[in-house]
Amino acid sequence: MTCQFCKQKDATVHLTQIVENEVKKVDLCENCAKEKGVNDPAGFSLADLLLGLGASQQIDEAGDAKGGGLRCVRCGYTQADFKKSGRLGCSDCYDVFADGLDPLLKPMHKGIRHKGKVPGSLRRATDLNQQLLTLEKDLQGAIAREDFEQAAQLRDQLKVVRTSAKT
């Protein structure tokens, strides 16, 4: 079996992974394994490899839709850099390349929204935002159902949360 990346050397590193209920197999040689970071067990992720394999097309499509040649103003990272390395240049890049990201993240992760720890300084704000979102959704539901009693209650709650969100 030859290496899937260089297509020259014998593949000695074999990985199997289930991504979105699909079995993905990757076979690569020692060299390519090293290059792709597969040699560091703690840092290794097959998604890393998949990012290189199938992702470049999606990055291009998303970029081209915006006229092509996306570039991060802050760090100078380009669409081509992203495509080549599968990595980003700085925090702002996540906004610049946002359109191409979600389809990449979907097969790689459990979801495309963060769940879990939030920095302490943001924790309070995030909690309140979450409450606001839920209340607003409930309110719209109540209005749609013409449950005006419920809607009035939700409106009062919203007022309270909005006030504390401002402080």
Binding site: T12, V13, H14, L15, T16, Q17, I18, A33, G37, V38, N39, D40, P41, A42, G43, F44, S45, L46, A47, D48, L51, R74, C75, Y77, D81, S85, G86, R87, L88, G89, C90, S91, Y94, L101, L104, L105, M108, H109, K110, G111, I112, R113, H114, K115, G116, K117, V118, P119, G120, S121, L122, T126, N129
Partner: protein, 368 residues
Amino acid sequence: MNIIEFLISPAEASKRSGPNDRIVFSSRVRLARNLKSYPFPGHAKKADRIKAYEILFPAIRALPQMGPEAFAESLEKLTALDKQILVERHLVSREHAAKGAGSGLILNREETLSVMINEEDHLRMQSLRPGLQLRQAWLAIDAVDSDLETRLDISFSDKYGYLTACPTNLGTGIRVSAMLHLPGLVLGEQINQIIQAVNKLGLAVRGLYGEGTEALGNIFQVSNQMTLGESENEIVERINKVLLQLVEHEENARQSLLEKKPKILLNSIGRAYGVLANAHTIQSKETMNQLSLLRLGVDIGLFGQTPKALVDELFLISQPAHLQLNHPDREKLAAEDRDIYRADMLRERMKSVPSPQEPAAPPSEAPV
């Protein structure tokens, strides 16, 4: 201070014990974090990388969890041998060991907390514990992270969570992993099936040395792949559950080998003992595999009072950099010389290990 003098000796390091350490060598939880205002290290210009380093280094050093005795150094101050030793101890990644100026390592006295500065991300912080202690490792690194975020401006987005250089680490930035010794499942030829089952749960399994079924020393690493859309606690609990099952499968596999194929098992272990105690030249690969069988023999009581710690120490000091370090003149050993020196060391150390005994008959077969 010199890192070699700083590190806990292999003999002492191998004596550390934890829950389920017959099968689980160690647990680790790693978090990836970045500063908001600086490009990620891989893309940063040297000046930016050094500026980030100068912010990060004192902040990490000042962590109460690091204590006054921590080892803190820029990687350019370490020799190639120093770095290789750190890799063999699993305290830094291979990638990080390749770095120089502008990258650093801070390690606490107990070697339970290691922070790499300017690896692929500005910070790669890991908490290490012997045996199966994922929850404890997570709680420890979570506390470090919470402390650090009051000192540093960490990059975080509502949608994507902690921002990382590679989208594969996005969200929690967490990598939860454990190192397992699974000779029973390998000898019982169940390992491939097990690996596939674990893969299906979204976890990666790989040989720590070597690959797939050829995992040298029958040592495997299990870790999560997904970091976004699942909370830290969910990830830790999921892996913990899988690991407990793996421990059970391994124990069952060992028991069934003892009952159904005792001759094959005892033959393998007896030969491993023979090789380790008598070889005059031995390669790293064979050493790992024979030591794995020796450890299995110790686990099932074939070697009297021989402590597991001795075998674990031999695993460590048989590695190339550790061998070189112990060599009297520390010169760079040629591979052939290293194999001879390894065999010399093993023969000497194996003198304290008695030849294998017949296992006690299982209760069901005992005469009435």
